[in-house]
């Protein structure tokens, strides 16, 4: 198990290393960067959805907090971008923890509702506090820099994001095989059974939720600095849905499924752009068809078909 899991990681690293040599132009490099950013968020979200069996419909809100921390704090208060990024992540983590503790004592769909509410409130706040956030038009984000070196070119960003993705994949694989990961899988299987064998269900769920929220916030900051501009759309309900969809289509509880889901759904709008006006319909159809015929998602379904297991 361990060896094969790492085999996948090597493939990911190899692909990431070769990719910049083969992409034909900067358009595809940009697409690759956005895929990698989404992949990291989806890895975190998949830990929550796939392993803990909980759904968040407000992850874009957390992403928005990170993105706007990186935009607002350096612009209005002169904070260093790294400090701003850390502050965004800390606020997100705190918010997630405060929200999750009472919610996780309840059952089932309540987290979906609470996160949905929170996400929408965050989005409305961003849209309305125009003095700080630029309102619906968004605002520019200062460049990320460290010791005189400014991250501006796409090439640099690619390597930063590729490194983050590799580390996230490595961390996810290890996490799943750790006692923590086993506890998560146990509580997805049966909460009562895992409680009986001594798993503190609420604590584990809160931990994984906070972790996935912090992932989203950090990548929100990265997105903000990479694009150089933030708009409230980053934090809207539809974006939350997109992220959940990436998890579900790729495959719940599958590390590589997360990557595939992120890659496919980031590319999808580009592919659908040719069907003018029909993008939304096509996007919805793809969601429905995937869920009806492959409720476990692409990677686990294919893996089962070719008899390998994941």
């Amino acid at each position: 198990m361990q060896k094969r899991a790492y085999f996948g990681l090597y493939i990911v690293i190899a692909v990431l290393a070769v990719l910049p040599l083969v992409v034909p132009n900067s358009f595809y490099l940009d697409l690759a960067i956005r895929m990698a950013i989404n992949a990291v968020i989806v890895l975190g979200l998949n830990l929550l959805i796939g392993f803990a069996g909980q759904i968040s419909l407000g992850h874009a809100g957390f992403l928005g907090i990170g993105a706007y921390a990186s935009a607002v704090l350096p612009t209005h208060f002169g904070w260093h971008p790294l400090l701003a990024m850390g502050a965004g992540a800390a606020v997100t983590g705190l918010l997630a923890a405060v929200l999750a503790r009472p919610i996780f004592k309840l059952k089932g769909q309540y987290l979906a509702m609470a996160t949905l509410g929170l996400g929408i409130i965050i989005n409305i706040a961003i849209r309305n506090e125009a003095t700080w956030t630029g309102g619906p038009d968004g605002m520019p984000v200062p460049a990320m820099g460290l010791m005189g070196f400014e991250l501006t070119s796409d090439k640099h960003w690619y390597w930063v994001v590729a490194l983050m993705l590799s580390v996230s994949v490595w961390a996810s694989i290890n996490l799943i095989d750790s006692p923590f990961g086993r506890a998560l899988r146990a509580l997805h299987g049966s909460e009562v059974a895992s409680q009986v064998v001594g798993v503190d269900v609420v604590r584990y769920k809160v931990a994984i939720f906070v972790m996935s929220a912090v992932f989203a916030s950090l990548m929100g900051s990265v997105t903000a600095h990479y694009v150089g501009f933030v708009t409230p759309n980053l934090a809207d309900f539809f974006h939350s849905i997109e992220l959940v969809t990436m998890v579900v289509i790729g495959g719940m509880a599958s590390v590589y499924g997360s990557l595939i889901g992120a890659v496919l759904l980031t590319a999808l709008p580009q592919a659908l752009a040719t069907f003018e006006g029909w993008e939304t319909v096509a996007f919805g159809m793809i969601l429905m068809v995937c869920m009806i015929f492959m409720p476990k998602g692409l990677v686990p379904t294919l893996a089962a078909k070719f008899g390998k297991g994941d």
Binding site: I49, G53, I55, L57, L99, P102, I103, L106, K107, G108, Q109, Y110, A112, M113, A114, L116, G117, L118, I120, I121, I124, A125, N128, V192, F237, I241, V244, T245, V248, M252, G277, W278, E279, T280, V281, A282, F283, G284, M285, I286, L287, M288, M291, I292, P295
Partner: protein
């Protein structure tokens, strides 16, 4: 003072009635199948948009309204047959994604065929406001509140006095037991989709002369209806109606007295509050889950 208070109350109750109809729709489907139908808002939108389309193409108003209620109901049945029934018993996450996919398809098709513009309907019985203690009430508000009241009474009669209604209730209590006593639970499922779509559409049609409509109003209306259903205690019909009115009225007061910019945030603050302090909603039954 009083005039202003009444004004906010009237407009809140009017919008709240729409939320109540949407919340009833959520409740029907949730009871029949434990599915939270995220496409509910699209039926509200569809009702309004179709009513606009049919009246603009020259049909008399009553005919247009009937068609605008029936077509969403048929869409609801199609959705249930094609998308929900094949995955019966799937995980919650899967079902949520399927209904979200459905909502995108309905919204997308509406944008393609009926356009992306904002539309209005003429009010059903004129625009002469009625004055009550200094506040004005539009005749259309009376339509909204009146029809909602009628719908609630009809539903009450249906669930308490007819065999089909009782069969639907039985299914919501325990679908296996219902099946054992000979209730056709898949019929119950598609009936609940048809009814809930029709309820949403009625709400959408009634409120269009007041709030206007366009292809993308469904998300917010649906989410607020959903909040209303949770506030009233998910699965409780009367709770859904009260929840809807409450959400509408609080939203209206919040917009009037606190901040109109944060109007849309009020229902969602309310849902967080409810989840923290009374997770079963105002009228939800205290249930203990068997393991």
């Amino acid at each position: 003072m009083l005039a202003q208070f009444l004004q906010f109350l009237f407009s809140g109750a009017t919008v709240g009635a729409t939320y109540a109809l949407a919340a009833l729709g959520f409740t029907l489907i949730y009871n029949a199948s434990n599915v939270i139908n995220f496409a509910q808002g699209e039926f509200i939108m569809l009702g309004g948009m179709l009513a606009v389309f049919f009246t603009q193409s020259g049909l008399p108003l009553p005919v247009a309204l009937v068609l605008a209620t029936l077509i969403p109901a048929i869409v609801g049945i199609v959705v249930e047959k094609l998308a929900i029934e094949p995955v019966k018993g799937a995980e919650t996450v899967t079902l949520i994604i399927i209904t979200i996919g459905t909502s995108l398809v309905i919204r997308g098709l509406t944008a393609v065929f009926l356009g992306k513009g904002t539309h209005s309907l003429p009010a059903f019985s004129g625009d002469t406001p009625i004055e009550i203690l200094g506040a004005t009430l539009m005749p259309q508000s009376l339509w909204v509140l009146g029809v909602t009241a009628v719908v609630v009474v009809v539903l009450w009669y249906f669930f308490n006095r007819t065999l089909t209604g009782k069969a639907m209730l039985a299914t919501s209590y325990n679908s296996l037991a219902a099946e054992l006593v000979g209730i056709n639970t898949s019929k119950v499922l598609f009936m609940s989709f048809a009814m809930s779509a029709a309820l949403g559409a009625v709400g959408g049609i009634l409120v269009t002369p007041i709030t206007l409509t366009s292809y993308d109003v469904g998300i917010m209306l649906g989410l607020k209806g959903f909040v209303a259903a949770v506030v009233g205690g998910l699965g409780n019909g009367l709770g859904a109606v009260i929840g809807g009115l409450l959400v509408g009225i609080l939203e209206s007061f919040g917009a009037g007295y606190l901040s109109s910019a944060y109007k849309d945030a009020i229902p969602f603050v309310l849902i967080l509050f409810i989840l923290f302090f009374m997770p079963r909603g105002l009228f939800g039954a205290r249930v203990t889950d068997r393991v």
